[in-house]
Subunit: 430 residues, 2 copies
């Protein structure tokens, strides 16, 4: 079996041209498979990821080529599973979001080194999901899919709907039927089909898995299931951008939110690629994972010194991180330990405080996931796990407008007055 697969990996599926992507390879046993809409190793059921023939040659020239590219993730096309002409295809051109030097926040946190916030709320649908979906769209084109799909409770639904609309795909997104009205609007406004499923999010996922195996799902690309190996690679661009925006330097410390854990593992993969290619100098870096206490299975395992992650039932306001059984949890533990980082968690109250702290210091209104990373950064400093004298990058992966409910109960007017100077004077705000 292993031999067969190794052989087949030299003959990729016909007509598939995804740039430097050479094959899929199993993260557990290393077996290779031709590029295709598959996501699990047929030998060991391990997750598949994209293996590359990365560009060789002068790093200086590659750097120049990247710098001359478009202001989107497509400047890194030579390092992604996408065709070389990807920037000319209709897509949302996500990425190359701001890396904000956060001096005010640094002061409040007692950070004396350089602190930066990588602010992915600047993406087209205002979350990092635009990055991963954009890569999945190119895979879907390559494999001849005509419908883009996913299960989602939030950011992903909007990202898929928008990307499909612009790229000329039909979309059909599955959500739990009792999702909040605002999120339903965001998911439905792009005109694709939106299907409410009577059941929990787990039921939605189970249904999607069934659909992929059924003739009904023919021609359907589920961005986070059968296109997952490609989709996940989109998160590498966060590593590329951070380093380029720091002047082609790897930061000393990065704080990354953990949902499935995929984003963290792909950022680590991206950093290693940059080092291997000579685009940045090789140096040690520490990766920190951030969870909400109400869904902290990886943090728990890290603190307990375990290698396996025990699933939990999520109960937190950080809904975009509420994955109780994170698929990449063990890999996250590995990376945090190997790099000398850590995994930490904060309470819902600390998340809200951190959202407000970031807003009032830097004018960035983050989603709850951004409250988690900022809150965890604060805790890591207080507990001596993060060195305040080094260069630190904190990720904000989404937009506060999408999680207004989190801050609404504690955010309101300082005063209500009559429209007179006397009334204003009495309020004591002048």
């Amino acid at each position: 079996m292993a031999v067969q697969a190794a052989e087949s990996s030299t003959t990729p599926a016909a007509n598939v041209s995804l740039g430097p992507a050479a094959a899929l390879s199993c993260r557990e046993c290393g077996e290779r498979f031709p590029l295709g809409p598959i996501f699990a190793c047929s030998s060991c059921f391990g997750p598949l990821e994209v293996a590359y023939d990365l560009p060789s040659g002068d790093p200086e020239e590659l750097r120049r080529r990247i710098e001359a590219g478009p202001a989107s993730i497509w400047r890194y096309a030579p390092l992604l599973p996408v065709p070389a002409d990807v920037a000319d295809r209709p897509n949302l051109n996500p990425g190359f979001t701001k890396l904000v030097k956060a001096d005010n926040l640094a002061r409040e946190l007692g950070i004396t080194g350089a602190l930066h916030v990588k602010d992915d709320s600047g993406n087209p649908t205002h979350s990092f999901k635009d990055r991963v979906v954009a890569i999945a769209v190119e895979a879907a084109r390559a494999f001849g899919f005509t419908t883009l799909s996913c299960s989602s409770t939030g950011n992903l639904a909007g990202a898929v709907g928008a990307a499909a609309a612009r790229a000329g795909f039909r979309s059909c997104v599955f959500i739990p039927h009792d999702l909040e009205a605002g999120k339903v609007v965001m998911a439905a406004v792009y005109g694709g089909d939106l299907v409410g499923i009577e059941g929990t999010y787990d039921d939605v996922n189970r249904f999607c898995s069934e659909l992929i195996g059924d003739p009904l799902g023919e021609g359907w690309g589920f961005v986070n299931v059968n296109l997952r190996p490609y989709y996940g690679e989109g998160s590498k661009t966060l590593a590329y951008e951070i380093c380029e925006q720091l002047g082609w330097e790897v930061p000393d410390q990065i704080v990354i939110p953990i949902a499935s854990g995929s984003q963290l593992t792909k950022i680590d993969k991206g950093l290693k690629e940059l080092i291997r290619l000579g685009l940045v100098a090789d140096k040690p870096y520490k990766i920190f994972g951030a969870q909400a206490e109400g869904c902290s299975p990886v943090s728990r395992a890290f603190k307990d010194g375990h290698d396996v992650v025990r699933p939990v039932k999520p109960d937190t306001i950080a809904k975009s991180l509420a994955i109780g059984n994170p698929a990449d949890g063990p890999y996250v533990l590995d990376i945090a330990r190997r790099t000398g980082g850590a995994v930490e968690d904060v309470t819902d109250e600390q998340i809200v405080d951190a959202i407000k702290l970031l807003a009032r210091t830097e004018g960035i209104f983050a989603e709850t996931a951004g409250g988690v990373t900022v809150g965890v950064t604060k805790k890591l400093i207080e507990t001596g796990q993060l060195d305040p004298a080094l260069t630190t990058v904190v990720l904000n992966t989404g937009d506060g407008l999408k999680t207004l409910d989190a801050v609404a109960p504690t955010t309101g007017p300082s005063a209500t007055i009559r429209p007179t100077l006397d009334s204003f004077r009495e309020a004591g705000l002048a």
Copy 2:
């Protein structure tokens, strides 16, 4: 009086260094005043605007200098009332948002020329207000103000709160006390003071005018009142970016929303500057204004052939455009007529349809103001006022996440099913 003012214009206020800004000049009588926090001509009460000593010399070199600048409005610092080192000061770095080639939308509208959407939802707080506020912040610094303020019912409150937080100003924003909860959160989250006023938006504005004249308001910069001449200049950057993003070419037709009308007049000003400086070739362009039928005083005057704009009481879902007595209305009429454009309006139903049309064709979820411009573009084509064979740019000035209520009643799931393939098959969506 006029002579005195002319003399005083040669001696600007001490310590005021706002780059190429040379003076304020009255748009009505032309009288000049030194740079300062004033907004009305002391002779004729006409509105003041910034007069420049614009760079002379080789346009090719200026183009190169701009292109090498930051990916924000600060690339145009040599054409704005800001100090040369503005990009190094803490601010939100707004602008240089995407100009999206909208081929799908063009097909639906029967546009055969190039159609582009200038998508300002990509700004830091997701509306074009970040542009104008960023310029006002620099004026506030120059004049030694310590508090940033405004009256607002929406986008501006968030833009001021965020900009003040990052730039190190105190902020105090005034809103009607009965604003929707979501908008209150967006205005308050940046940690400045937010004051609800018991009264209408008109009462809020009247109160702010009183405060400016009172010792209580000492050191306060109201971005859209005593800093208005500077603030307004921020909209010129839309013209600069559009032309640069079109390869330093003026588009044939631009469709711009009208609230006060300031944005439209400043875009015209920006285009004329680019032509005068030789940064773009001189060519005719048509400017179209877009209003909601429920607040269409300028459209009404345009159609009736009037020079004056009769105030109306706004009643439309396009709340960010709901200014019943638009200060720059007469100038808008002038520009639309001079350039061979027009002013048109659409109903609330057409606004909602247009929001959805833009979302399902290009994956852009616009605020109601974006529904107004897209809807008006459609109507202008249908009525033969806009040439579908020419290059057209349509502005989207805000984000759909801020006006979810507009589309919520008509945007929902295609179906709700049980989590089984049979149930999905019955729904007829496969």
